[in-house]
Structures are given as structure tokens and as C-alpha cells.
């Protein structure tokens, strides 16, 4: 009996030690965030093959977050990144279309609204250009090898360009290498990231977090406690959105105080439970930023239940988030407009195929949606002009 009690005590002591380690680990991480060495940044800014020389100058900019993984490609911090407007300005508005070209698209699961909308964008581009675009998607977001097989099959079928949204940062690596060997243009659309791809086209996730921070700061008169619900950290977008948010707060000497930051695995229920705990622990909590809308909608339920006055901001701009904003529940979301993202991706692909010089990363439009512009047409919000295709 005594021994067992002793054993339980020892186990608890172990837990105690571990939690202590945990808090230490957290604080040393944040130190890293603040003063990351330039050598680390240099490594983490490895560019895709075509633009190698441009990346070697100047390595300062924003501190590289999660600097632990070396040699990581980071389109958000790419030196030569441009918006689509800048690309059009540099290369002329006309997009040459060679009707003989075939494009292949590989996406994640169509069970997710985001990817369905992206598909609609590709279909729109196919209709506008008159090109055939072969769109493939996996059945679920975990089928990494299935996606690789699809990509390889498209290469063998002789497409001229591949537009890929890989499930992880690594599952398409070998498929992209063989595509590059076969002189297929490789374009990485949204995340995950492919360091070996010729171009990256997608929203700037870092800026995305900054937009959210700026909005919250404006609404709160730049003071108050804020918490962050992060997504699964293996996702590039989760790390960047959080980093963008935090850096905005520190770079602007904001009086917003980030009191808590926890992972909820992109899960609505887990996010709600997290928010429940926070609301009891931080009676003065004024805003919660979530790495995606799904989690934000869970947090909204917790806030509604407690009748607390807390701003909730999500990311993605899914239909349910728009509804929730209209209903006065969710406060804002950052939409990256997949319908237009796909069209920008096709436009960039065609420009590159026609021999125009494109940057390693093209940032696609995104905007913060709140009750004021929730009913405004998306094309108007981002000032969208359709590409001018010349055949």
C-alpha cells in the first residue's frame, strides 16, 4: 500500500518536472523568435532552383519563426515575392495562351469547401482560356501516397505544367523532381510547400496573421488581452499566421497582450473547450485569434455561452464563417479567395510557359471580412480584374 502511494507520488513528481520543462521550452522558443540569427534566416530562405541568385543578397527582414527546421523554403519571406498586380505591371496585362498546352492540377480533398472553391476557380480559368485542365483530388486529406501517384501519372501523360497543393511539405517531393526532369513546369499553389517547385502561388499566410492583429488592435483601441488558437503545427500556414500575428504586436509596440497560445488540431470541439477554459481563467480576455474558421466557429460558441464580450477572428473565409458574421456571432475572418487564387495560378503558369520571367513567389489576394464588407462582392473587395488572355 505504502509503496503504491509512493509510486503515485513519484509519477506526479515526474509530471511536475515535465510541466516545468514545458514552460521553459516555451520561453526559450520565444527568445528565438525575437532575435533569430541572420544565418538561420539565410538557410530558411532557400529559393527554388530558377531564382537562386536573387536570394543571396539581404537576409534580414522579419525574424524567421520556428527557425528550428533548417533549409526550409518560406514563400512568405521570399525576397522577390510579387503580387499579381505587380506581375501584370512588369510583364504587361496580356497573357499569351498557347492552345496546345495541357495543364494538370493536383489538389487535396474535395470534401473541404476551400478546395471545392479552388476547383471552381480552375474551371473558370479553363473556360476563359479554352485550355484543357486535368483536375485531380485525393479522397481525404491524409492520402499522401495517393496524391503522389496522381502527380506522377499526370507527368507521364505529358502535361506541360503541374499546379499542386500538396498534403504535406514532403509527400510530392519525388514526384516534383521527376516532373522537373521531364521539363514540366511545376507550380506550388497554396500550402503545403514544395521547395523544388519553380513557382509558388498562394496567399501570404504571414500577412494574413498581421491583418488579423491590425484589425483587433483597431477594434480594441490597441489594448487588452488576446489569445491565439493555433492549428496543427505541421502546417506551414498555422506557423506563419501565428507568427504574423505576434510579430505585428511586437513590431508595432502594440499594447495588446498575448496571454495564451494553444493548439487545437484544427478541431472545432477542441477549440471550443480551449476557449471555455480561457474564458474562466482570463476574465479580461478581449479577443481570440484562430488559425482557421472551423476553430473560430467553435470559439464563437464558447463566447456566446459565457456572454463574454470577446472578439473572435478566424482565417479562410468559408461559407459558414460568412453566415456567422452576418448573424453577428463571428467578428471577422481573413479570406484568401480560392476562386481567384486558382485563376491567378493559371495566369502565372501560362506566363511562365510563354517564357516570361516570374518571381519565385506570387502572393494572391486576401482581405479581412467583417460585418461592414461581408455582403460586398469579393471581386470588388480585392479589386479583381480578370486576366486578359490572348490566343
Amino acid at each position: 500500500m505504502k509503496k503504491k502511494v509512493l509510486a503515485v507520488l513519484l509519477a506526479t513528481a515526474m509530471v511536475f518536472t515535465l510541466t516545468a520543462c514545458g514552460s521553459n521550452g516555451g520561453s526559450s522558443n520565444s527568445k528565438n523568435d525575437g532575435g533569430s540569427s541572420s544565418s538561420q534566416t539565410e538557410e530558411s530562405n532557400e529559393e527554388p532552383a530558377g531564382d537562386a541568385e536573387e536570394s543571396t543578397d539581404g537576409t534580414e527582414e522579419e525574424p524567421a519563426e520556428d527557425a528550428g527546421s533548417t533549409g526550409e523554403f518560406n514563400p512568405d519571406q521570399a525576397e522577390d515575392a510579387m503580387t499579381i498586380e505587380e506581375v501584370r505591371e512588369k510583364n504587361g496585362v496580356e497573357v499569351p495562351v498557347d492552345s496546345g498546352k495541357k495543364l494538370g492540377v493536383v489538389m487535396k480533398s474535395l470534401s473541404n469547401e476551400f478546395w471545392r472553391t479552388l476547383q471552381e476557380g480552375y474551371e473558370q480559368a479553363a473556360a476563359d482560356t479554352g485550355l484543357s485542365i486535368d483536375i485531380q483530388a485525393t479522397t481525404d486529406e491524409g492520402d499522401e501516397t495517393g496524391q503522389q501517384t496522381m502527380t506522377e501519372a499526370l507527368t507521364t501523360q505529358g502535361v506541360d505544367a503541374l499546379l499542386m497543393s500538396p498534403i504535406s511539405d514532403s509527400n510530392l517531393t519525388s514526384a516534383v523532381e521527376s516532373a522537373n526532369d521531364a521539363d514540366v513546369l511545376t507550380v506550388n499553389v497554396n500550402d503545403g510547400l514544395i521547395a523544388e517547385a519553380n513557382h509558388y502561388v498562394g496567399p501570404n499566410a504571414y500577412q494574413n496573421g498581421q491583418l488579423a492583429a491590425e484589425w483587433i488592435s483597431g477594434k480594441l483601441g490597441d489594448e487588452g488581452q488576446v489569445a491565439i488558437v493555433v492549428g496543427m503545427a505541421k502546417a506551414f500556414a498555422a506557423r506563419e499566421r501565428t507568427a504574423g500575428f505576434k510579430d505585428w504586436v511586437s513590431d508595432n509596440n502594440s499594447k495588446l497582450e498575448i496571454v495564451a497560445e494553444q493548439n487545437a488540431d484544427w478541431d472545432r470541439q477542441k477549440a471550443k473547450e480551449l476557449a471555455n477554459t480561457w474564458i474562466t481563467q482570463y476574465p479580461d480576455l478581449k479577443a481570440i485569434f484562430c488559425n482557421n474558421d472551423d476553430m473560430a466557429l467553435g470559439v464563437v460558441e464558447a463566447v456566446e455561452e459565457s456572454n463574454a464580450d470577446i472578439l473572435v477572428v478566424g482565417v479562410d473565409g468559408i461559407g459558414e464563417a460568412y453566415e456567422s458574421i452576418r448573424a453577428g456571432k463571428l467578428d471577422a475572418t481573413v479570406d484568401s479567395f480560392p476562386f481567384y487564387m486558382a485563376q491567378v495560378a493559371v495566369e502565372c503558369t501560362l506566363r511562365s510557359l510563354a517564357g516570361q520571367e516570374l518571381p519565385s513567389a506570387v502572393a494572391t489576394p486576401q482581405a479581412l471580412i467583417d460585418s461592414e464588407n461581408v455582403d460586398t462582392d469579393a471581386a470588388e473587395i480585392i479589386n479583381w480584374t480578370a486576366p486578359t488572355y490572348t490566343k
Binding site: A7, V8, T19, G22, S109, V259, Q281, E320
Partner: protein, 322 residues
């Protein structure tokens, strides 16, 4: 006193460990000891507790039900669709429970009639049920569940206790009564302890296993209802990975993975311990990845105690002689 200790020593140990954890968290952040934090802990153990007590029934018979996370999602979707179309909420609840029972019974069919290994059979239905959830919804969430349904579970009693906490306690009491006071309970333990011996002594093994899987489906359905009431929306991706936490709660509470041993009370405390851990980690603001590390270590430690129990008894006996 001694008798109670011998009978429930595992439960008491887990409960003590929970208290000690609570003390640790309180030392690190005195806020932990607020009534509202306690409420949060009980609220957050509900889903895992319901899933754990369900999966415990299958584990008792020497089986496992890996499909609970997916059954959970299907029940949520089915009931959400009924409610959104204006069905009477109580009728919708009955339909939800029926869906859980049917899905559980199908697992039972695979395990008993087709004699599949429970792990493989429910691994199959895990994918099958998830697929059904995707097909039915087309991946889009079902939203705007009316308050008439939500308040049944999500409403509050004076003191801030939500009805779904009571629902969970009732489910645990029912499980406890079935396991300790009825013949069905004896059969469940007998089948898990030694299936051949149980069969030879006239236990209807097939029926007993069916009951276990149906109980698992039913408890999961209740969890699905609670989730729906709490979120007001259902989606096909709900509950992914929840089976692992449920197994963990049951294992910490002393349920033997080999079958034949485990109690509803132990599983309750197992789920409570995990909830204390989860909320405590957030309260003291530990990086959430450490939560996985600590949870893992606690599961390993708990099964080690299970293994050591025999050894320790022998060790103590030897010492007494000397």
C-alpha cells in the same frame, strides 16, 4: 474500510493521482481551484467519458471499437439534419440513439457472425463510417441546429452545471449497474476473461458480444448528441482521433486490454484525470505539445502499475515473512 479499499483499489489510486495533479496545478496557478474551473473540467470530460465508457464495454469482452469517432460524426450529422428540418427534438434524439445502436450492431455482426478480429473489423468500419459521413454531407457542415434541441443538453442548472454533465453521470451509473448488478455484466466479464470457459458454462457469447458493441454504439451516440448540442453544427470530420483518448481513459482507469477486467467507476476517473490534465495544462499555459507527452507517460505509467500489481503483492508477501 479495508474491504472497500481492496475492491476499488485501482479506482482509489487513479482518484488520488487526479487529486495530486490538481494540487500541483493549484500550486502553479491558484486560479485552478475556482468553481468555474471545476465546472470546465467536468464539462470537458463529458465527450471523452461517454466514448470511454462505451469502448470499455467492447474492451471488457476482449475486443475493441475503433469506429467510435466515426459513429460519433454520423450521429451528429443525422440528428442535425433531422433538427434542421424541423423534427421534434426528442424524436431526433431517439433517431440518433437508433443510428448509434445500428452502427454498433453492425460491428457486433462483423465480430461475431463473420468472426472477424475486432481490431480489423472496426478498423474497416472506421473508414466505412467516415466515408458515409462524407458522402451524406458532401463534406459541408450541417449548421443552424435550433436551440430547442441544443437546450436539452446544453442548458444550465443553477450553479452553472450543464445538463450534459448530468447525462454523462447517468450513463455511467447505468453502466455501473449493468456491470456489477446484472447477469449481463457477469457474462461480459466472463467472455473477456476466458471465452472458451464462458461458452462451456453456457454463456451466450454471441449475444454478449452484440450487447458490448451495441452499448459502445449507444454511448457514442449520446456523445454525438452532446457534441451537436454544444457546437450547434455537425461535420463529417468531427471526432477524428477521439478513439485513442477514449482507450486511454479506459486504460488509465484500470481496464485491461486483454479483456475481463475494468469498471465504469475506474473509466470515469480515467476520463476525469485526462480532463484535469487537459484543463490544467491550459491554465498554467504549457505548450500544448507537452500535453501529448505527459498524457502518453501517464498511460504508460498506468499500465505499468497494472503489470506490477501481481509483482508488488508477491514482493510485499515476501517482505512480511522476512
Amino acid at each position: 474500510m479495508k474491504a472497500i479499499y481492496t475492491k476499488y483499489k485501482r479506482e482509489i489510486l487513479v482518484f488520488l493521482a487526479t487529486i495530486i495533479l490538481g494540487v500541483v496545478f493549484t500550486v502553479l496557478n491558484p486560479n485552478f481551484l475556482m468553481w468555474r474551473t471545476m465546472l470546465t473540467i467536468f464539462q470537458q470530460m463529458v465527450l471523452n467519458g461517454l466514448l470511454a465508457v462505451g469502448i470499455m464495454f467492447t474492451i471488457l469482452t476482449g475486443g475493441i471499437d475503433l469506429s467510435i469517432g466515426c459513429t460519433f460524426a454520423i450521429v451528429g450529422i443525422a440528428v442535425a439534419n433531422c433538427c434542421v428540418r424541423g423534427m421534434n427534438p426528442f424524436l431526433a434524439i431517439i433517431i440518433g440513439l437508433a443510428v448509434g445502436v445500428v452502427l454498433g450492431a453492425f460491428n457486433g455482426f462483423l465480430v461475431t457472425n463473420l468472426k472477424l478480429q475486432p481490431f480489423i473489423a472496426t478498423l474497416g468500419t472506421m473508414s466505412l463510417y467516415r466515408g458515409i459521413a462524407y458522402v451524406v454531407t458532401g463534406g459541408a457542415p450541417v449548421t443552424n441546429v435550433p436551440d430547442s434541441f441544443r437546450n436539452i443538453f446544453n442548458g444550465q442548472m443553477p450553479g452553472g452545471i450543464r445538463y450534459y454533465v448530468i447525462v454523462m453521470v447517468v450513463v455511467f451509473i447505468i453502466a455501473h449497474v449493468i456491470l456489477s448488478k446484472t447477469r449481463t455484466g457477469d457474462y461480459l466479464y466472463a467472455v473477456g476473461g476466458n471465452e472458451e470457459a464462458a461458452k462451456l458454462s453456457g454463456v451466450n457469447v454471441r449475444k454478449t458480444k452484440y450487447i458490448a458493441y451495441i452499448a459502445s454504439g449507444a454511448c457514442t451516440a449520446v456523445a454525438g448528441l452532446v457534441m451537436l448540442a454544444s457546437l450547434g453544427s455537425a461535420e463529417a470530420t468531427a471526432g477524428i482521433g477521439y478513439e485513442t483518448n477514449a482507450i486511454a481513459a479506459a486504460a488509465i482507469g484500470g481496464t485491461s486490454m486483454a479483456g475481463g477486467r475494468g469498471t465504469a467507476l475506474g473509466t470515469f476517473f480515467g476520463a476525469l484525470l485526462l480532463a484535469v490534465l487537459k484543463v490544467g495544462m491550459v491554465v498554467i499555459n504549457v505548450d500544448s505539445f507537452w500535453q501529448y507527452v505527459v498524457t502518453g507517460l501517464i498511460i504508460v505509467a498506468a499500465s505499468y502499475f497494472e503489470f506490477m500489481k501481481g509483482d508488488l503483492a508477491a514482493f510485499a508477501a515476501r517482505h512480511k515473512k522476512a
